[in-house]
């Protein structure tokens, strides 16, 4: 099996390599050689079996590395190629990163779930080590010396005995004639020799971003393209009865209107349907659309009224529900008495509101479609476009420019399908631009949830029994018309994985009907589950008359591995094995202890209206403890002068990017805790832009967030999402410490914090 190919002729590299150059390309993790060595069933395994991530070494020494994951601000486009460059022993300044098109042969490209580094760290370093060994062997043969006498310095192979050197570019042609080494032949660098991993590099696109040259999905252009603005049915599943296009057609620059058919349930990633106004520029399309007169049949979801729905959720949360985890005997323990406390929590729908609204450009010609989409999931673009246009998936080419934020919204490519449908109907390339109002009113929303909590405290103040119950419409409703019940993937997130050392514990859940499109939003179900559990832990501490942080450590109990499968057999552990990624209370304890020390917990003289709150959480296999400090004045105005957060995410490739993610998570957490609320009236979403759906501005965000990365020898875990969940409860616990007011419903803009 020859895994070496001349990639200069392949579309993957888009002609980047010089013509006629002999180029080494390693198709990494060759299936026949290595498949037996990889654990089966994981996403890494899928990547290993469909290996088409490329590294190319050009004869001028330029190293091309394919980034196959989407870049939306988490630096996966920098950090994964950096892992490859490390083991290749490449000089990073001579590396060119090429963005992959959507292709299942890359393995998963769905850039969500905080798993880019976790799933692809190993494959990338194997690819780098493979290419390095082939270059080294080429040099050894050229010099007629044993391979063992050769080593590498950045971008050169060195003969240790004679001091002879040969650059990677000079060796590329010869190296390409060698067979791909077997995995057991590879030699990885010792950690002490690492130049990049653990030290990091600035984003590959940093200068382009700061000079306005970076190309985002919004910036895609092709010749002869036209622009579309789409009027969607105001209520999910609504259908067009009639419309009048006279108004739009009078607007200068408007060419035509095109009807997009409604979806067949379940909505999945299908377009919502509606009327597109096609014009010569974005403004004319938007202006024309305002003059459109449409009459809709709203359909069954017009019954959705958030005020009423909230009461129903809260009522359901007070009723017994299905146990997702059951340990000991909660009912008997409650019957034995103790100090019983109960509380109810509520978190509304949220919208993603990435700065770049959904946008895609599609060009349909002769049964083939080329798409430039701001997408976290280019293979899903291929799938939905293929399905909607009736063309084979291979005939759908999806380019992935930079994303102006994603947060989970852009894993759902409905807008890319809209562009493809329109291009086919119009006979030209069409760019679909969603307005901010479209983005807020037609999102795949974070769900809405009600939680009920009950504990019985023993004489030491610690719970003898703990019951928690959540009720929310599931993400499953997006994929299944009957998908009301929560999946294990949602329940694992801060519910069935509770690490507290309590003998009798039950985590319950019941489903609810969905009336909006429900989807993933940065850290997903962890947001509301963590808010309830970590707020309630603080309430228990207060009821027990104990310090919040000391009590939290006592709740977690001694260092141990939590045998979660025993009481929650369905627990999926974010797709990671429990052997590699156990629920380890020592790591919870450690991040709490670090943040306690760094934040000065218990040692600060806090004035009137000031307070500190703590929360700890494990999500996406990463452990995070966060302390928030607040000031609340008599008018109830809130300031967040300081946040301290300690992170154990295992091996960190890019520490600076990691700090950036956790600083950003504190702001994201501030937004959702202070302002985040989507509501509906008669099925129509009430919010539409940053006036009615505010997100944190500079003067509302934490003034300073300090991030402490814990040294860890554990395998890499996620960093994009895990900073979000503990923020809201830590903030509300701080507000309680400062004011004595317990916030059990978000957002805070609805609470009265004043004296």
């Amino acid at each position: 099996m020859n895994t070496i190919t001349n990639v200069s002729r392949r579309s993957f590299l888009q002609g980047a390599l010089s013509a006629g150059a002999l180029v080494l390309s390693v198709r990494f993790v060759p299936e026949a050689l290595w498949a037996a060595d990889t654990p089966s069933g994981s996403r890494a395994d899928q990547a290993a079996l469909h290996p088409h991530v490329y590294v190319g070494v050009d004869t001028d020494g330029t190293v091309y590395i394919i980034a196959h994951r989407s870049e939306m601000g988490t630096t996966s486009r920098t950090s994964l190629p950096l892992v490859l460059a490390e083991e290749l022993d490449a000089d990073w300044s001579r590396v060119k990163v090429q963005q992959a098109i959507g292709d299942p042969r890359y393995g998963s490209q769905d850039t969500d779930g905080s798993h880019s580094i976790r799933e692809f760290y190993e494959p990338m370093r194997q690819a780098g080590a493979t290419a390095r060994l082939m270059l080294l062997r080429a040099a050894a043969q050229q010099w007629g010396v044993p391979e063992a006498e050769c080593a590498t310095d950045p971008h050169v192979v060195v003969h240790k005995t004679s001091g002879k050197k040969a650059g990677y570019g000079e060796l590329a042609t010869a190296a390409a004639t060698f067979p791909v080494p077997k995995k057991n032949e590879l030699k990885f660098k010792p950690q002490s020799a690492w130049r990049y991993v653990g030290k990091g590099q600035a984003s590959y696109d940093l200068e382009d971003i700061c000079t306005g040259k970076a190309k985002f999905g919004m910036d895609a252009r092709v010749e002869d393209m036209v622009y579309a603005s789409i009027e969607h049915p105001p209520v999910l599943g609504g259908k067009l009865k009639s419309f009048d296009e006279k108004g739009p057609l009078l607007v200068k620059g408007v060419r035509q209107t095109v009807v997009i058919d409604p979806f067949t349930p379940p909505h999945h990633f299908q377009p919502l349907g509606g009327i597109a106004v096609i014009a010569d520029n974005t403004w004319s399309a938007m202006k024309g659309r305002q003059k459109l007169k449409a009459v809709w049949d709203d359909g069954p979801h017009a019954v959705y009224n958030s005020d009423q729905y909230k009461k129903e959720l809260q009522k359901a949360a007070r009723q017994p529900a299905k146990a997702a985890r059951n340990q000991g005997d909660v009912d008997t323990a409650f019957a034995q008495g103790g100090k019983v406390i109960e509380a109810e929590y509520y978190v509304p729908h949220l919208a993603h509101a990435s700065m770049e609204p959904p946008v895609a450009l599609a060009d349909y010609r002769d049964g083939k479609v080329t798409i430039w989409a701001s997408t976290q999931n280019p293979q899903a673009v291929q799938e939905v476009v293929s399905e909607k246009l009736g063309v084979p998936k291979e005939n759908v080419t999806c380019h992935v420019p930079l994303l102006g934020g994603g947060f989970g919204r852009k894993s759902k490519p409905d807008y890319a399908a809209e562009a493809a449908i329109l291009s086919k109907k119009v006979g030209r390339p069409v760019k679909v631009v969603w307005s901010r109002e479209d983005d807020i009113r037609f999102d795949y929303y974070h769900t809405v949830s009600a939680m009920y909590m009950k504990a019985a405290l023993g004489t030491d103040g610690l719970p003898t029994a703990w019951l928690q119950r959540s009720v929310f419409p599931s993400i499953g409703s997006t994929f299944n018309v009957n998908g009301t019940a929560a999946g294990a993937g949602e329940l694992q997130q801060g519910w069935t994985d509770l690490p507290f050392n309590i003998p009798n514990m039950r985590a319950e859940n019941s489903g609810a009907a969905a009336h909006l499109r429900i989807g993933w939003l940065r850290s997903v179900a962890n947001i509301y589950h963590c808010f309830a559990a970590q707020s309630f832990a603080d309430e228990c501490a207060h009821a027990a008359g104990r310090d919040s942080l000391e009590y939290l450590l006592a709740l977690i109990g001694p260092s141990r591995i939590v045998d979660v499968k025993k009481s929650a057999p369905d627990y999926p552990n974010y797709g990671g094995s429990l052997e590699t990624y156990p629920i380890d209370t020592a790591r919870y304890r450690h991040v709490i202890e670090v943040v306690a020390e760094k934040s000065g917990w218990g040692n600060k003289n806090l004035g009137k209206g000031q307070g500190m709150g703590i929360a700890v959480h494990r999500s996406f296999l990463t452990y995070v403890a966060t302390v928030v400090q607040v000031e609340v004045n008599d008018q109830g105005e809130l300031r967040i002068p300081r946040v301290d957060t300690a992170v154990d995410a295992g091996l960190i490739v890019n520490p600076e990017a990691t700090r950036n993610q956790f600083e950003g998570a504190a702001v994201f957490g501030t937004s959702l805790a202070r302002f985040g609320e989507i509501t509906a009236t008669h099925g129509v979403v009430d919010q539409s832009n940053f006036d009615s759906y505010p997100v944190s501005r500079m003067n509302e965000a934490p003034y300073r967030t300090n991030v402490y990365i814990v040294e860890s020898s554990a395998p890499p875990a996620g960093v994009g999402e895990p900073g979000v969940p503990p923020f809201a409860p830590a903030l509300c616990n701080a507000i309680f410490a400062a004011t004595g007011k317990r916030v059990r419903e978000l957002p805070l803009s609805r609470a009265k914090l004043g004296a």
């Binding site: 870049e71 939306m72 988490t74 600035a202 984003s203 696109d205 940093l206 200068e207 971003i209 700061c210 000079t211 306005g212 040259k213 190309k215 985002f216 919004m218 910036d219 252009r221 622009y227 200068k252 620059g253 520029n281 974005t282 403004w283 004319s284 938007m286 202006k287 509101a353 700065m355 770049e356 609204p357 930079l402 994303l403 102006g404 934020g405 994603g406 947060f407 631009v433 307005s435 901010r436 600076e656 950036n660 600083e663 950003g664 998570a665 504190a666 702001v667 994201f668 832009n689 940053f690 997100v695 944190s696 501005r697 500079m698 003067n699 509302e700 965000a701 934490p702 300073r704 967030t705």
Partner: protein, 151 residues
């Protein structure tokens, strides 16, 4: 016919006079460094300079831009990186980067008015520019660093 100067080049526009400058820059001139975020002057992603002052191009019609000098992010580094761009890179401000053209244009305008802005000045000057990734503390640090370099 609207006459205006964009990045030093004289331009004339015979389209709809109520078209916002943003879409003229992006769709007609292909100056895509200036971004669309909200269309209502709520987020600042579209910030450009009109006669040296930061404005929101999404609500500035071509009529109102007539006769003025417009400068966009593309023109800032023509003679090498601007000190604000340099400090943005040193502090490693961006995450996704989409709002950063607008943030940088706003920061340059702020520093032109006040060389060494206080925290309050920075809050006042920058709170109209939203960053959903949450890079605010790095923006603040970069503005302070750039202010120091200019002093």
């Amino acid at each position: 016919m609207v006459q205006l100067k964009v990045n030093g080049v004289q331009r004339s526009f015979d389209g709809e006079p109520d078209m916002p400058l943003l879409w003229y820059l992006r769709d007609v001139l292909a100056l895509t460094g200036t971004k669309f975020g909200c269309g209502m002057a709520l987020c600042g992603a579209c910030t450009v300079h009109q006669n040296g002052k930061a404005i929101r191009s999404c609500i500035t019609t071509m009529q109102r831009a007539a006769g003025s000098e417009i400068r966009t992010i593309e023109d800032i580094a023509v003679n090498g990186l601007h000190p604000v761009q340099k400090s943005w890179m040193e502090v490693n401000v961006p995450q996704c980067g989409y709002c950063q053209s607008g943030q940088i244009m706003q920061a340059i305008s702020l520093l032109n008015e006040k060389q060494k802005p206080t925290d309050e000045d920075i809050d006042d000057g920058m709170s109209g520019n939203i960053c959903r990734c949450g890079t605010y503390q790095r923006i603040r640090a970069a503005i302070k660093a750039a202010g120091g370099e200019r002093a």
